[in-house]
Symmetry: C2
Subunit: 119 residues, 2 copies
DNA sequence: TTATCATATGAGTAATTGTTCATATGACGA
DNA sequence: TCGTCATATGAACAATTACTCATATGATAA
């Protein structure tokens, strides 16, 4: 739809003032993109399983591989996504790399997600 | 990785007991899939923008089309995704269909998401 | 050093997804 | 009834993504 069409649409609608108000109250695009990105990273079965495991304990890649019953490469790839999103952090310990949740906000988010789904 | 390899991996790792504990404490697969699905639906820029708009007011498709500056078909498609996920609900009013957030849990989730991103 | 183990990563691929275009549905006013 | 408006939906397409395979890195042990 072109901008002109959207404009027209606004005029014909029932609540042009509400629309204007909402438009002004909308958060910035950057912020909304970041939030969408955060949820997108949380929105994957494998990654949710990883986070549930890390919610209980700091674990190495090998532990996670075993817990999830997946191949090590797949787990590492997903850990990278989680690390890039600053949802988990890692530290080296000898040959192993130990992962843990980065932030308590994340646990809250996941908990709330489970609460919602469980009704 | 085969199951046998995963098994082997567990033995070589530093914390086989922790791994066992975590494995037992993991939520059911169904539940984890549902949570991942919920976050996945929230994890899209357009849908987050729709939810932010509806957070302020009940709105018809036309209002949303105008606020987002997108074509009507795209908005309708995303509303369907949100409706299927029971994140928004709709009611008819004459020619229009009015959408609103379905549940306060959802507002909480989104608010938490923004709080996290804003640091 | 060399062999082995834990982890990371690039390429390739199949599946999913968001948007557009065209069209359908269904309600209202003339 | 007819035309118009608001919304919904199917098909097509481009972009993204999760996984696998093969290989690289980097640390430890012999």
């Amino acid at each position: 739809m072109t901008e002109k069409e959207a404009e027209l649409c606004q005029h014909t609608c029932d609540h042009p003032d509400v629309v204007d108000e909402v438009r002004k109250a909308m958060p910035g695009e950057r912020l909304q993109k970041d939030v969408a990105q955060l949820f997108k990273v949380l929105g994957d079965h494998t990654r949710i399983r990883i986070l549930n495991a890390l919610y209980r304990s700091e674990l190495c890649v090998c532990d996670l591989t075993s817990i999830l019953g997946m191949n090590q490469s797949a787990v590492s790839h997903q850990l990278r996504v989680l690390r890039d999103a600053k949802i988990v952090r890692s530290r080296k310990q000898g040959k192993n790399v130990l992962y843990s949740l980065d932030d308590s906000h994340i646990s809250d988010l996941i908990r709330l997600g489970f609460e919602h789904v469980e009704h």
